[in-house]
């Protein structure tokens, strides 16, 4: 089944260009175009596309607002790929916060546009390399992981780190044992050596340590059903 795409851009020429490019790929079908944010919302509801190519700068309603509204109301799986001319953007963060799955510049080669659409449709997240680099550097300079904490982290063996991650999910020893296909007694002995190596007292402190050392980060866990 082909990938159904909605192209949104206020400049008809650009819009048409993207559509032309995508039409050369038989697995991609442009089902509609829109020239404003409001039109985009309406077209999305009507055509229920798999992927939306969304410009940011538009009259009436910009791409960011349109994105969050569409994603907020959609009752079908739709993904948004933001296309923008420049990249000097606080826009990036807003766009990703709005729920966009990708963010690429309009100067990408035509064939990569198709690749990008496929990646997004496949459930991937795609960010232009230049932007990715910036995200990474911004992220890296982040709260400078407590060096002393990180140091103690690599005194653990690989297996022990597995256990730490599992403990930091709130699992019991027997649950961890089943997940790792080992006996409960083994889990207990791993936990014990973790506690002594890290100078901790019990498993709740292991959880704290896992988060504080960035071994585990918020936003990755399901807690309580």
């Amino acid at each position: 089944m082909s990938i159904r795409v909605l192209v949104v851009d206020d400049q008809a020429l650009v819009r048409g260009g993207f559509t032309m490019i995508l039409r050369t790929h038989p697995d991609i079908e442009v089902v509609a175009e829109a020239g404003t944010g409001l039109e985009a919302i309406e077209a999305a509801q009507r055509h229920r596309p798999d992927v939306i190519l969304m410009d940011i700068r538009m009259p009436e309603l910009d791409g960011l607002e349109a994105t969050s509204r569409i994603l907020g109301e959609a009752d079908w799986p739709v993904r948004v790929l933001i296309l923008t001319t420049f990249d000097p953007d606080e826009y990036v963060y807003q766009a990703l916060r709005a729920g966009a799955s990708g963010f690429v510049l309009k100067d990408i080669p035509p064939h990569e546009l198709a690749t990008a659409v496929r990646t997004i449709a496949d459930g991937g997240a795609l960010i232009a390399p230049s932007i990715t680099r910036r995200l990474i550097s911004r992220f890296a300079e982040g709260p400078a992981v407590n060096a002393a904490v990180a140091e103690r982290l690599h005194r653990l063996t690989d297996r022990e780190r597995d256990i730490v991650v599992a403990v930091a999910r709130g699992d019991t020893n027997t649950e961890i044992a089943q997940q790792l296909y080992i006996g409960p007694a083994t889990v207990k002995s791993h936990v014990s050596s973790i506690l002594t190596k890290l100078g901790l007292r019990d498993r709740t402190q292991i959880v704290v340590f896992a988060y504080e050392s960035s071994l585990v980060k918020p936003g990755t866990q399901d807690i309580g059903t």
Copy 2:
């Protein structure tokens, strides 16, 4: 011309699986496999692949070190896609700093693996959605608080939230009691009602909940001496 791929993983079964998957795509050619970091370096030099699928955890030399050595010495255009089981993102930064073009989890559907390889070969950067989400939540200073989680949070009373914070420091009931100038029995009853209200099982899950709901944020705790 087909995309030439080197598959690196210390588990022969996993390695073979990836190779099998990729072989079903005519535009992708697996030119070699390696089971350790050292083998990977040698195989890369010999076969000069376009893309390297690299596991992190390996004997002899891990995927991160192998990646940076290969990229440091390569005199041809090669890109590295990191494949890992868990996503303890210590690794993410190191990997991206080492020059990897992508970072995905091994649980991606088979067809996405091929898409990922094509994306990387095309010069794109690819990061697993789960990790991208985390990157994003770092910039959106309100770490995309899971609405359902936050909702359950304010079903707690003020005092109960105090207890949650204290539990999330890794303190025992008696320690919490002393800090709050109440009896240990009182702490226990608070903890009990917290558990039932939040649908959790034990205090380690409370710690997880505290971090996931942003009631407690990393970088604010002293852990271990």
